[in-house]
């Protein structure tokens, strides 16, 4: 009986771990995929993990320079963006770009910067599930 209890206990632990592994967000892999998907002519700068488990938003910052064209893309497991929206805010928190325009979501933003400064790259989630993705930032002149 004691043995049986131990076996059940161990197998339930393994089961939980297995579910955790399946459920885990592999944002590293998705970020790497996004690097390859940057449009022709863009030089890779940064990749970002977008693991939204238990979070309303994820935010990074970067100094964008006037005269430089930036591209930020999104990669997810399911449909194009899996409900992930990327937006760019200026230093005063004005929204200057978003991947959701008039309700339509796309997987990339092309942002030709006209004002140098610190910008915030924010990822939000439009769907309760699928809060897992990756993203890459590139530039060209």
């Amino acid at each position: 009986m004691k043995k049986l209890v131990i076996i059940i206990l161990l197998s339930s632990i393994f089961e939980v771990r297995a579910f955790e592994l399946i459920d885990q967000c592999n944002s590293d892999k998705l970020s790497a995929e996004c690097i390859q998907k940057l449009s022709e002519g863009f030089n890779f700068l940064k990749s970002y993990k977008v693991d939204g488990a238990g979070k309303d938003k994820i935010e990074y910052s970067y100094v964008f320079m006037k005269g430089t064209q930036y591209m930020i893309n999104l990669c997810a497991n399911g449909t194009i963006t899996d409900g992930i929206v990327v937006s760019i805010f200026d230093k005063n928190r004005n929204k200057v770009a978003t991947s959701k325009i008039n309700g339509q979501m796309v997987s990339a933003i092309n942002f030709p910067c006209n004002a140098s400064g610190i910008y915030y790259i924010q990822y939000t989630f439009d769907e309760p599930s699928g809060r897992c993705g990756g993203s890459a930032l590139g530039f060209k002149r």
């Binding site: 100094v63 339509q104 092309n110 006209n114 004002a115 530039f139 060209k140 002149r141």
Partner: protein, 287 residues
């Protein structure tokens, strides 16, 4: 870990002492390391400057870079980290200009410094060397070099060695500044003056980073020099005007028209002063 095997005990002691001092500074400052890492990650790549120079028709000039022979002079981790950043920018510059033979020399010294700092495992010298041997691989070469440096910075930050990451990025930024200033001195243009002027934004972030490490004598010394540069930059003004962007979807991409603007007020005299101070700081580091 395997990478420690390559370090002599003397090197380890040197690094341990260096890191110990800085770790205690971070702890005492009460600043979350996430804050430091967040600032570190917003510093732009010096590659942007190299691309700007190439696109504006500036010719490649190897004489403005740090000579690879200087690597033997860097005998402590402070100098190694700073010069790793400097050589990283030099490699990016040679890559962008497709000067692969020069690039191979930089790969070698970068690998050597990275090994000394126990971060050599992130620098895939074999792949980079193979890509550098063929000028058709330019894009892949630039990509893998950027990835390697990103991995190094990420690793340092996750290991609580963000002090090294600060030095690496500062060295890289200073070299980008120096290259831009040298080019602007030979071929002055308003565009380059403005590029130099807008570096004020980055300098302010770097100064913020250094303020966390004032207990370290090396970093405090460099902070003093950077503050002198800040004094020169105080004469430069950047005015930002926000105006809502227009956005449309074109071929599945959100294409933005940024209607905000920045105007940068900088004179030739300001540029000369900034150039002199930048060169002086850089010479202390590479010498």
């Amino acid at each position: 870990m395997a990478f420690v095997a390559g370090c002599s005990s003397e090197k380890k002691t040197d690094e341990q002492e260096f890191l110990k001092t800085l770790d205690s500074t971070v702890e005492n400052s009460g600043i979350d390391e996430d804050v430091i890492n967040s600032i570190l990650n917003q510093i732009p790549s010096p590659l942007e400057i190299s691309v700007l120079l190439r696109e504006s028709g500036t010719k490649f000039n190897s004489s403005i870079l740090n000579e690879t022979a200087n690597v033997s002079r860097y005998n402590n981790n402070y100098k190694k980290a700073l010069n790793l950043g400097i050589y990283g920018t030099d490699l990016g510059y040679t890559n962008i200009y497709g000067q692969n033979l020069d690039g191979i020399k930089y790969i070698s010294v970068i690998k050597s410094l990275a090994d000394d700092l126990s971060i050599g495992q992130f620098f895939d010298v074999e792949t980079i060397g193979r890509l550098a041997a063929n000028s058709k691989n330019l894009d892949s070469l630039v990509l893998i070099t950027t990835l390697n440096f990103n991995h190094i910075n990420h690793y340092l930050q996750t290991q609580g060695r963000d002090n090294l990451s600060v030095l690496l990025l500062t060295g890289g930024w200073l070299e980008g500044m120096q290259i831009t200033c040298q080019v602007a001195a030979k071929k002055p243009s308003q565009e380059l003056f403005e590029k130099i002027g807008e570096q004020k934004i980055i300098l302010e972030q770097i100064l913020l980073l250094f303020s966390f490490y004032t207990d370290d004598s090396n970093m405090a010394g460099l902070l003093k020099d950077l503050e002198e540069l800040k004094t020169a930059y105080d004469k430069v003004t950047i005015n930002y005007t926000y105006k809502a962007s227009s956005m449309e979807i074109v071929n599945g991409v959100a294409v933005i028209k940024d209607n905000s603007t920045t105007t940068i007020d900088i004179t030739e005299q300001n540029v000369k002063e900034i150039t002199t101070i930048t060169n002086s700081i850089r010479n202390k580091i590479i010498g």
